[in-house]
Structure formats: C-alpha cells, structure tokens
C-alpha cells in the first residue's frame, strides 16, 4: 500500500467514517442545507442552530464515502461554538489544506489537519468539501441545495 493511501485513510478518518460524530438533526436546528455531488450521487444534509451569530448546534445526515463522511463529522466538531465569520474563514483555510493551494499551516487547523492527505487525490477534493459547502449555504440561509458541479 502506498504512503499516500496510508495518509488518506489514516485511523482518525476511518474512525469518523465508521462512527460519525454529531450525526442527525440537532434539536432546535434553525438552519439547514443539502449538498449533492451529482457525479457520484453522494448527498449530505447539514443542520445548524445559530445563537447570537454563533454555531450553537450542528449536525449532519447523508451517505457518502469515507472521505466525505469523515470530513462532515470532523467539520461539525470544528465549527461548534464559532461565529459565522470564523466558520467562513476556517473553510477558506481548510480548502487550501485539501487542495494543496496556499500555504496554510496544517497545525493551525487542529484535527482537520488529518484531511491534508486529500491534496494528493484531486478527484476527492469534492468529497472533502461537500459538507462545508452545505454548511456555508445553511449559515447564509440560502436554503437552496448546493451542488459540487
């Protein structure tokens, strides 16, 4: 098995895939959006409860590959308690991490850094960002499903 594969499918990612955190609709959720990848049929539904512009509760449902499920699970942990502006900024840095563009320090992203291996798999960037796109749509209140295409 190649080193890239080992990095992509490291234990924390498989753990979040097999036991996704914050799975389901949290009570009191007042924002939601759906993300779909029409190329593979993956879909994710992201829910959030905003309090004073902070993400008080967040959860997701859906079916997808290990990368998209783990990315969604890790995302919910990373954004909880943050303001919408902070979430937006975090998504930008996370996007740089998984695409390998920009010079973001993986350490600054905490646990999200485990997804850095995605940069070696350009075809999988959409998997790693699907839930994030849905979260952004939910927080912006657009309410329209977002698509990777």
């Amino acid at each position: 098995m190649s080193a890239e594969l080992r990095e992509l499918y490291q234990s924390m990612i498989l753990d979040h895939y097999k036991k996704p955190r914050n799975y389901g609709r949290p009570p009191g959720a007042d924002r939601e959006a759906e993300g779909v990848n029409p190329l593979c049929g993956d879909h994710v539904h992201v829910y959030a409860k905003l309090q004073d512009d902070r993400v008080a509760e967040v959860g997701f449902e859906g079916s997808g590959c290990a990368i998209s499920t783990a990315a969604a699970s890790l995302m919910t942990q990373a954004v909880k308690g943050h303001t919408t502006a902070e979430v937006r900024e975090l998504f930008e840095r996370y996007h740089e991490l998984v695409t390998g563009r920009g010079d973001v320090d993986p350490e600054s992203l905490g646990k999200l850094a485990v997804l850095a291996g995605v940069r070696e798999f350009p075809a999988r960037v959409k998997c790693a960002t699907l839930a994030w796109h849905a979260l952004r749509a939910a927080l912006e209140g657009a309410g329209e499903p977002v698509s990777t295409e």
């Binding site: 098995m1 499918y9 075809a123």
Partner: protein, 411 residues
Amino acid sequence: MSTPFTDVELARIRADFPVLDQKAHGKPLVYLDSAASTQKPRVVIDAISRLYAEDYANVHRGVYQLAERATRAFESGREATRRLLHAPDAREVVLLRGTTEAINLVAQSWGRSNVGPGDEILITAMEHHSNIVPWQMLCAERGAKLVVAPIDDDGALIVEELERRVGPRTRLVSVVHVSNALGTVNPVREIVEIAHAAGARVLVDGAQAVARMAVDVREIACDFYAFSGHKLYGPSGIGALWGRAELLEAMPPWQGGGEMIESVSFEKTTYAKFPHKFEAGTPHIAGGPGLAAAIDYLESAGVERVGAHEDALLAYATEAVREVPGLRLIGTAPVKAGVLGFVIDGVHAHDVGTILDREGVAVRAGHHCAQPVMKRFGVPATVRASFGIYNSREDVDALVRGLHTVVEVFA
C-alpha cells in the same frame, strides 16, 4: 461455439493497443473500464491520422479529388456499420455522435410525429439515463406516459412483467441490449415479438452489445438500433442509428442546416433523402474512417471470439472475487456480458476506486448513469470492473489483489 483467445493471440492483441503500455502510480496499468469507453488499437489511431494527413476535405460537396477521397473515407464508416449490424442497406445507417444522439433523434423525430397524449413509451428498470431522459422529455411534451418494466433481484428483466405492460397505447419499447451497470443481456428478439404483436415499435440500445456479440438487426427484427463508436474500439463523437427504411423515410428531419437539404429558398426548403436528412452540418469526418477501422479490427479478431474471451474472464473474475470478504455482486443475471458490478460491506465505491487506482487498476465507481438501477438495489453506487478484448486473467488477479488492499485499509 467460439473459443477465447490463446495466450499468444492475447499478447498480440494487447500489443495493438499503445495506451496499455504504461504505468499508473508506478504499477502496470490495468484497464478495467471498457464499459465506459474502450481503448483504441493502432489501426484506428492510424486511420484517423491518415484522414487528416492525406485525405481531408469537407464531405459530400467538393467536386475535387481530395473531397471525393474524404467523402469515401467518411462513408466507409457507414458501410462498415451496415456490415456490423447485418443491415440490408447502408442508407438505413444514420451517422451521428453516438447512442445518446441516436436515441434523441428517434425521440424527437419519430416520437414527435408518432406519440400523442395518452400514448405510452415502455422502457426497463435497467436503462442508462440516455434511454430514460429523452423519453421523459418527449412524454412531457406530448402528454404521453413513460412506463417501466421491472427487473428481478439478479438484475434480469422480468419478461412477463414487460409483456403485461405492453398494451394498445404502447407506441415504442426502448430497451438496452446489454446493461452497462449490471451486464444483463436482454432477450431482445423475444421483446420485439411481444412489442410487435401489440403494434409497438422497438428501439434497441446496443452501446454495450456491439463490441462483444454478433448483432443482426434482421434477426432481432427491431425497428431501430443504436450504438457508439467509442465503445467498440473506435473514436468518440461518432456512432450510428440504424432504422428501417420505411420509418426513416416517413420521419421528419430533426436538426436543420447544411447537408440535410435538397434545395433551399426563403419560400420553401426540400429535404435530402435519408440518411442525409438526419445529418445536418459537417460531421465528425475522421470518425468515419476511425469507425470503419475499428469495425474491421473487431471483425478480424472475431466479435464472437471477443465475446467468448470476455465471458471466460467474467466467469474467472466472478469466482475470484468470492474470496474477498464482504463483497456482494450487483448484477447476477443468468445471461451476462462484460461487466462485474459489486459493493463491499462498509466501504463506499469511491474509496474502492481510489485505492484500486493507486494499485494501477482503473475501474468505474459511481452510479454509471443508471441511478434508478442503484436505487433498485439500495446502494448509492457500485464498483464496476468491465472487460475488453485486451484484458487478461492477470488483470483480474491485479483487481483481486487491490480489493484485498481495500479490505485491509478498512478492516
């Protein structure tokens, strides 16, 4: 009964395909995605290149020698198609971009003049999106109804259920010859008999069939047959619709433009005869000789031997993947061709595809443009390994090794 290729024959065939001689992620490339598109033998690449290097001009209009040669080269694709399908007359072959365009042509031209409110179009539950969506569009426009014949848990068409759905309002039965997602081979001759007995026409989507079985449209007795060049070792962007002469004759033109006219004035335009009536605009000229070269290649190898070769590989692979823990085949119809579809417990198809890719093995992971099939089997996606003339048992062995890596990663 045709026999599979010998090792010596297979080695010679593999050498005909330059693309196979490369590495993927440092491993020898194992191409198991021929159901999506086949690779091209040198003779096809050369035929396309020769057209541009020696014989290129626009077709069907120049009076000079070069244009005559270009026209002859392009038309060789039509004659080769006639031979491939055992059609009585090359004029019944409309050269188009591929299967999708062929089905859309029938929907838009034949459909608009033959399908009215309350009429029905019957398809099966295993169709590719290209044999679903054009009919949905037609039905929405004409107030007609799309009816779907179900498949069983093995992915085989339930013929009695299809028969029950054929009625006086059925105008057309449009059915795939070989399913791209499941590999199921449909009993098209029997379907034609059922449909014709009720006065319905039949279109057969032959995209996955033509490269692995002898097709005789007179024997199938269908009314339309469609296929794509790129799935039988030819170029993409060229394919054909075969239709019965009397149907093509009566069908109105589809797209308007050059090539499809007899004379044009601002008061009145008269149309060319079929097939040119359906071939507006400058076609994919190099596709003509490319398609002809591909059909020649397939014929010299023997399409039935290609089928026998792939059947042997499919049987070998079906047995070999049984040792992969948690693997479940999707598509186990008694008569199958060319396709091994499966899922692995607890592992998404895309992750399987990514891991196999790093092992040099190219497979398709996804819904295969057949989302209703995925829904029928309750899976979001499947992994599909599909075979071509050039695949070997070693390719299957590499697939199985890769699948063990998948299981190891997700253990």
